[in-house]
């Protein structure tokens, strides 16, 4: 650890890992609740075109990725709102267009496969202090949005119609969360890479919801797991000369596996406590059926 901290780029990278570990799962909690787990993946594809454009025009690839992925996220949200079935295909077109366009643009710039690889799978050694300032600013913005709009976003993600009947600006909030997801993708892409970026938005949340009872508890636990896997994944990649993104994601998956094991113990204990206090135990077969029906109706 101390050897690692002697390198400037590792100090920068570690701070970045903490920021990524905090923001990605925080935004991811809303995405999982909205059943948009793969949205981050799609935004990552689109962001590659932004990187290509940034390289080609000589502007910063990060700013290119930011502009294009926010625009892409807003487009996705508008397509989604317009039609359920047509929206699905439109999303696929956007994703593949973004990925193909990004590869072509990066190549046209003479970037070659090394540059491409560093954006697709993350590369810590190329991170500069200037990058860190951009990332820190964006991370602060993302966390501020969640603090400011968290309650509204929670209701929106629970039930869009109820949110509308509560007078919330549903379209604005939907676009806001999509744009926030896009910013998070850009924050995380240097360290984790565009192809794995959404894993850190989703996997810590999947792990946390095995253990927590509530929404904000899930978010807090997911942020903890996110920071832990980002920092230790980074340290591990330095120590053993592994690519950082996949190391971070594999650690998050390990946390998920541990949470599944731990969660079943916690739930069994809770169910026993619940059965003692209530004539109707939680999680009986009949209730599972009611839930399944509800999902059919809701879908």
């Amino acid at each position: 650890m101390s050897e690692m901290l002697q390198y400037d780029f590792m100090r920068v990278a570690l701070v970045m890992a903490v920021l990524i570990g905090l923001t990605a799962p925080a935004v991811g909690t809303f995405m999982v609740q909205r059943r948009l787990s793969l949205l981050g993946d799609g935004i990552g594809h689109i962001a590659l075109t932004g990187i290509g454009l940034g390289l080609l025009t000589g502007a910063s690839p990060v700013l290119g990725a930011l502009a294009v992925s926010v625009l892409g996220a807003v487009a996705i949200e508008l397509l989604r709102a317009r039609s359920r079935s047509g929206g699905d295909v439109a999303l696929a077109l956007l994703f593949y267009g973004g990925l193909a366009g990004g590869v072509i643009l990066t190549n046209a710039n003479g970037g070659g496969s090394a540059t491409l690889q560093s954006y697709l799978f993350g590369s810590i050694s190329s991170v500069t202090a200037a990058d860190l300032y951009v990332v820190a600013g964006l991370a602060a913005a993302v966390l501020a949005i969640i603090a400011l709009f968290g309650r509204e976003l929670f209701l929106l993600c629970q039930d869009e119609e109820v949110a509308r009947a509560a007078g919330l600006p549903v379209r604005f909030l939907s676009v806001l969360i999509a744009a926030t997801a896009a910013v998070t993708v850009v924050i995380s892409m240097r360290a984790i890479g565009l192809l794995l970026v959404s894993a850190l938005m989703i996997v810590p949340v999947a792990a946390a919801q095995q253990l927590a009872r509530g929404f904000w508890g899930t978010m807090a636990a997911a942020m903890g797991i996110g920071v832990l896997s980002a920092v230790s994944g980074l340290a591990g990649s330095f120590e053993y000369d592994l690519p950082p993104g996949p190391s971070i994601v594999l650690l998050a998956l390990a946390a998920f596996a541990a949470a599944v094991a731990g969660g079943s113990v916690v739930r069994r204990r809770r169910a026993r406590a619940g059965a003692a206090g209530d004539a109707v135990p939680a999680g009986t077969g009949a209730e599972a059926r009611v839930d399944a029906e509800a999902e059919v109706l809701g879908g």
């Binding site: 999982v32 978010m219 209730e287």
Partner: protein, 250 residues
């Protein structure tokens, strides 16, 4: 009560407060089919209106249209005298949707779900401090007690039974302390014990003079509270009846 059936133009009668809902010729078309076919409906303050009818009669569409959640292709509807798009007093409305959207996704405690019903009461920009926060907490506690789930506040909502989840959704609407409560099939798939708890909660509300609009397949234990029923068939009002009630005496 003085209410001329054709009068939905509250602008012309400023001395009389506009009713919670007034729909004239409400028509909803989807895929070329008329789901609502010219519904005239006026819901006066303090009424407990039950909307009855078979599956596919347009009951859910009617309440969604009343709330502006489904756009009208003809006719118009007003909420407290305003078209839904211009209506700003959403804190006066509590909507309990039909489905149970609590399963799956990220867990949320009963209290978190219920507290989200306060959102229309709160300023979007200022976090609640001091008195506002205390008022939020008190309203959430009251709503939980009304539906009899105070002891389950810290449990995950998606682990409750279907009937209990329905009560959570009702508590969410109650937490906003609305003047009007709109419930879509609150008794569907709910066991007798939960139906009784639900009826008791609605009894309190009706007794407090709130307006209730509820969609139901059959009335069951809420029957004594209902002041008026309308029956839908193929998107039209086919029957309407005022009722003697016991609920008003509370």
């Amino acid at each position: 009560m003085n209410r001329p059936a054709s009068d939905t133009r509250e602008e012309d009668a400023p001395e009389q407060a506009p009713p919670p809902f007034a729909m004239a010729g409400g028509t909803v078309r989807r895929d070329g089919r008329e789901i609502l076919a010219g519904v005239d409906l006026r819901v006066a303050a303090g009424e407990v209106l039950a909307i009855l009818g078979p599956n596919g009669a347009g009951k859910s569409t009617l309440v969604k249209a009343l709330l502006g959640l489904v756009p009208l292709s003809a006719g118009r509807t007003l909420i407290y005298g305003e078209p839904p798009a211009r209506f700003r007093g959403w804190h006066r409305i509590g909507y309990v949707p039909q489905r149970l959207p609590l399963g799956g996704g990220v867990p949320a405690t009963v209290r978190e779900v219920v507290a989200s019903g306060r959102v229309a009461r709160r300023s979007r920009w200022l976090p609640a401090l001091g008195a506002g926060r205390a008022a939020d907490r008190a309203a959430v506690d009251r709503a939980l007690r009304t539906v009899g789930l105070a002891e389950r506040a810290r449990d995950s909502a998606h682990l409750l039974s279907g009937g209990q989840q329905q009560r959570v959704l009702i508590a969410r609407a109650l937490a906003g302390e609305p003047d009007v409560l709109v419930l879509d099939e609150p008794t569907a798939g709910v066991d007798a014990r939960n139906q009784a708890a639900l009826a008791a909660a609605l009894h309190d509300l009706a007794g407090a003079g709130r307006t209730v609009v509820l969609v139901a397949h059959e009335l069951g234990p809420v029957e004594p509270l209902v002041t008026r029923t309308i029956e839908l068939g193929h998107g039209r009002v086919v029957r309407e009846a005022a009722r003697e009630t016991l609920g008003r005496t509370a």
